[in-house]
């Protein structure tokens, strides 16, 4: 059962270097044939500086960074009972290979809810604002996790 006292808690920052191969790997895993994500020349021709990170790329630093298990542990969530409820991104600028992004995961809200069928669940809202190596805002990610009880 989630520790509902954790609203407002911040965790250790995630730092991630955006790599060309990882962008391509994400596009291939999704099955997106758009050459903008696969080929630098095609990206430049389409008005980009290089291949841009895909719209959902920010799941990569979150899942690969090693912070996630610690966060789940600190929130006292049973990971096997967790569903991903919502995900939202706000984009301030594109991410390109070589960018080093840093974001601090913050728990913005934790609450218990009762569904129409009467089952109880905890809702956990988390937000990460990422900045790049120049200190500029890159994107904000918001996630809603649902722990069934």
């Amino acid at each position: 059962m989630a520790d509902l006292s954790k609203t407002g808690v911040e965790y250790a920052p995630i730092t991630w270097e955006v790599e060309r191969g990882k962008i391509r790997e994400m596009a291939k895993a999704i099955g997106d044939p758009n050459p903008v994500y696969l080929d630098k020349d095609a990206a430049i021709q389409a008005g980009y500086k290089d291949i841009p990170a895909t719209p959902t790329f920010l799941t990569v630093p979150m899942m690969w960074c090693d912070q996630m298990p610690a966060i789940i542990g600190d929130l006292k969530i049973n990971f096997m009972m967790v569903l991903h409820g919502e995900e939202e991104y706000e984009y301030y600028q594109l991410m390109y290979p070589g960018d080093v992004i840093t974001g601090t995961p913050k728990i913005t809200k934790m609450e218990e809810k009762t569904s129409k069928s009467g089952s109880k669940m905890d809702l956990i809202s988390m937000e990460v604002l990422y900045t790049n190596q120049r200190g500029e805002k890159v994107a904000k990610a918001r996630s809603l996790l649902i722990e069934r009880k």
């Binding site: 990971f79 919502e86 995900e87």
Partner: protein
């Protein structure tokens, strides 16, 4: 490659070209696990998935389906114009599902010196079951 797109050319009610993907194979979930770093066995281990109540075995990562919605969006509006993209995960996606993404423009407006279009998107499987409802905003150039 998408042609140059201008704010003036986009109208409320314009429909997104549909994207149909599938059937989604377990191999794709494994590829997505490696790409994203999400190795939850629910998405790669049939025995585990069945033991926790998934009668057809592994299910897709929600984020893979969001990625597919992202593919549909950026095939329509180039990513350089994308300002916001959010989804609600409405249901689990079984392996071998075929996902259809559709969407439409719901609003266009000038806001803080930018020319914004708002759209709604939806992803359904072959039975018409909704997997994702979402929205996005793009800031487009003017002529």
């Amino acid at each position: 490659m998408a042609e140059q797109m201008y704010f003036e050319d986009v109208n409320v009610g314009d429909v997104m070209p549909e994207l149909v993907k599938g059937p989604l194979q377990k191999l794709q979930f494994v590829m997505y696990a490696g790409a994203s770093g999400d190795f939850n066995p629910l998405h790669n281990d049939d025995e585990f998935a069945m033991a926790v109540g998934m009668k057809n075995g592994v299910i897709s990562h929600g984020m893979l389906v969001m990625g597919i919605v992202g593919q549909a969006i950026t095939a329509w509006f180039p990513q350089k114009y994308l300002k916001k993209f959010g989804v609600r995960f409405a249901g689990m996606t079984q392996k071998n599902s075929t996902i259809t993404v559709s969407g439409a423009v719901t609003d266009k407006r000038a806001e803080d010196g930018e020319n914004i279009v708002s759209c709604e998107v939806i992803a359904k499987d072959e039975n018409g079951d909704v997997k994702i409802t979402g929205h996005f905003e793009a800031s487009l150039p003017i002529k």
